[in-house]
Symmetry: C2
């Protein structure tokens, strides 16, 4: 018997299930929660259940939202002629932070990975095709620069180009603040390939 309380043991176990939280961290968090006022603990607990109850996927772009369609899809300020295709809702947040993009998004909910048995029917490809209309001018593919992301980019570009759309992908190159000397060869060769006139 390590803990003199079953509730405490249970909380440590529940917390240790979360990603990136080991048993030691879970124990530290549990002790912290023990010391918080009850009201604040209830707030955290409510926030957790709240996302499950309120947040759903937008029926248009599949991003997380409370209103359907989501605030981006229903905003008159966004440019409906551009659709940026991403893997996850997190990617939408990352792009929104740049303030660079004013178009709409399409969240695939993953990328093609034949080894894991994830094919085009497992991600929101069909939904993307359904969204395309005479208004759509450009599809920006913003998938992760790894094997699965590359495969998805290739697959989607082959699918979309015959529809007469402008299909682009975000640039791969040296990250800002990065060091040419320490950049890996693949990135550097993409950076040279993707050079732009100044």
């Amino acid at each position: 018997m390590l803990y003199t309380s079953e509730s405490l043991e249970l909380l440590v176990e529940e917390l240790a299930q979360l990603p990136g939280i080991g048993r030691k961290t879970a124990q530290r968090l549990a002790m912290y929660i023990m010391k918080l006022p009850r009201e604040e603990v209830v707030n955290i607990a409510k926030a957790m259940v709240g996302v499950k109850d309120k947040v759903k996927n937008c029926s248009i772009c599949s991003n997380f939202t409370e209103d359907d369609p989501c605030l981006i899809c229903s905003s008159p300020k966004r440019d409906g002629s551009m659709i940026c295709v991403v893997e996850d809702p997190n990617d939408v947040i990352a792009i929104e932070k740049t303030n660079e993009f004013i178009g709409l998004y399409h969240v695939l909910g993953g990328s093609l990975s034949p080894l894991d048995g994830i094919g085009p029917e497992d991600i929101k490809v069909k939904e993307l095709l359904h969204r395309i209309n005479e208004n759509t001018g450009e599809i920006i593919l913003a998938l992760n620069p790894n094997v699965e992301g590359e495969a998805t980019t290739l697959y989607l570009s082959r699918l979309l180009k015959p529809l007469g759309l402008k299909v682009t992908r975000i640039a791969r190159g040296i990250p800002v603040g990065g060091d040419l000397e320490f950049t890996d060869e693949a990135t550097l060769s993409r950076a040279i390939e993707g050079r732009v006139q100044i």
Copy 2:
């Protein structure tokens, strides 16, 4: 607007308040929670509020417990003649893991720290003195080997020795698996000081 959902934003904010959890980790956790079945999220939330509702401090040793007195204080198997004094409930768990100690505990709830305005009346010193009776044979001081812990050890030993008790402290020395060469001077000098005959 980064998040298309207020609930999600709220959850990230609530999680980011926890110790050792920054905004990025909070975001990752929130996304993970979004993907969990509702039932499991409710379990985590219930476990959090559960500790606040069920767990209290043992009226004898001040350790966290659901039953009063706690399972250790009320166990007939424990040796009531020994009391191990620690700072936090976490320290009880650490010592219980060793299976080395069969006596009782006393959780001070901190250590003396005049700079932070924490004096003997702010930690459970009075309660320790109240517990001592003709049964008590040895008090083991197991405080952290830092300035505050040392001060508390010194203070308690001066307080307890005149009562005719055996007062001991846990050994300071080279940790098991440690390297003599890389051990700091203070630890090494304590290790030499505390050498034992073989």
